[in-house]
């Protein structure tokens, strides 16, 4: 409970920080849709640029996600450390236990992301004049959903890798993986003459699904707000893709949890 409260406090502080650093409109007025796009990577009215400076800025926007992964990345794994034998000897159905634990991770991810966004919004409201637009509400929900799915997927992944590699290595792998997904995006400007290849690379890279300003709005409501520089990145596709990836990680996790032998008594020290 103390950890969850700490996590929510961190979400509020990071929301204020994101808003303070990235929401600074010219003229003191900003549309809600623009505010959300800026939180997901856009710079002012321009979409996130795939140049190094833009990607570094986007990486900074992912700091709250990294923090969540560090916090929640030991939720399952902690039971494999001290007292693992005494814990798992009391769990006759590991799958049911895993389902309960991942449901909590899901709720934590949603609460964390929602609080982060609300803190960013309230901070913006105190500093600037926010103009409410219908597309903004939809983008707000979309952004929250995409990031929540990303948080669940990565946090569960850290937990699962930790069972084999220890918590520090697992966190390093998952964070490194996310940076590795970002790195090839810096090559996109080289493909300006090959827009199809460029769009394909963007569509195949799951981290691009977090960048709303690269999406194309298919509905009358979203089309004006999402005028993407790349083809084929649609919000609904991103939601489905992240849902599928999340489900795949959860399913693989269920098998790992079900089958994993408790041979090493203390995962961190390696004691038998």
């Amino acid at each position: 409970m103390k950890r969850t409260l700490l996590l929510l406090l961190a979400a509020a502080v990071l929301g204020i920080w994101l808003s303070w650093v990235y929401i600074n409109p010219y003229g003191g007025q900003i549309l809600l849709s623009q505010l959300v796009l800026q939180l997901s990577g856009a710079r002012g009215e321009f979409p996130l640029s795939p140049y190094l400076s833009g990607l570094l800025e986007f990486t900074l926007r992912l700091v709250p996600a990294f923090l969540f992964q560090a916090f929640v990345g030991i939720r399952l794994y902690q039971h494999y450390c001290t007292a693992s034998v005494y814990v798992f000897s009391r769990i006759p159905n590991r799958i049911r236990w895993y389902a309960g634990q991942t449901a909590v991770i899901g709720l934590q991810a949603l609460a964390y992301q929602l609080l982060l966004m609300l803190a960013a919004l309230v901070t913006a409201l105190l500093r600037w004049q926010v103009v409410w637009d219908a597309a903004g509400f939809l983008l707000f929900a979309l952004h929250t959903l995409l990031y929540t799915l990303w948080l669940i997927m990565t946090a569960v992944l850290v937990n699962l890798l930790a069972i084999f590699q220890g918590s520090s290595a697992a966190f390093a792998w998952v964070t490194g993986g996310q940076l590795a997904l970002l790195a090839p995006l810096s090559l996109l400007p080289l493909l300006d003459d090959a827009p199809l290849t460029q769009s394909l690379l963007v569509c195949l890279n799951p981290i691009c699904r977090l960048i709303l300003s690269w999406h194309t709005g298919q509905t009358r409501l979203l089309a004006p707000a999402l005028a993407a520089p790349y083809r084929g990145l649609y919000p609904i596709h991103s939601v489905v893709l992240l849902l599928v990836l999340c489900a795949a990680v959860l399913a693989v996790g269920a098998q790992i949890i079900r089958r994993h032998d408790l041979i090493v008594s203390d995962m961190e020290s390696g004691g038998k």
Binding site: T82, A83, P92, R258, S265
Partner: protein, 213 residues
Amino acid sequence: MLLSANHITKKIRGKTILQDISLQLEGGNVYGFVGRNGSGKTMLFRALSGLMAVSSGSVSIDGQVLRKDVSVLPSLGIVLENVGLYPDQTGMENLQYLARLRGLIGPDDIRTALVRVGLEPEDKRTYRKYSLGMKQRLAIAQAIMEKPDVIMLDEPTNGLDEDGVQLIRQLILEEKQRGALILLASHNKEDIRLLADHLFRIESGVISQEEVS
């Protein structure tokens, strides 16, 4: 209650840890297991409890196959060597946390278990500050607190003073009288002589039955 091992073999990275072990163990008995360090006693407990899958063969409890019908023995208390508890919690807090996982018992049952092993339920010291003997007593308390059908004790008298040894021996006999199936691995010949109804020797993963002397 009948715990059966049917030709179980466990190999880890090509090395055979347990070899073609078959056992029929009934409730209300104490089964002693002896053997040198690394002979496979602890691995056998892990396999019989369901904490570790076997490479071939099967373990079942009253017809329910472990790792298939249930992940672990449904009513199990276990103590293994070198398995600690949460260092920043008191003994009571540690047991309360573990008890919540099954939700079968309340604070009074936990206090009773602590008193039975000679620990003070209101002791405010954290596990980190416990002596080796107190840690061992606490581990035994967590194993018996829910009155499990099967109790596996790996070197339960390790680190205990003479009074502690007597207390734990008495406790094991009480659990046996309750009807629990008790598996006891010990290097202490006196523990085995006084407590075991049946004796098995394990050498390099191979098991054989011996007479209790």
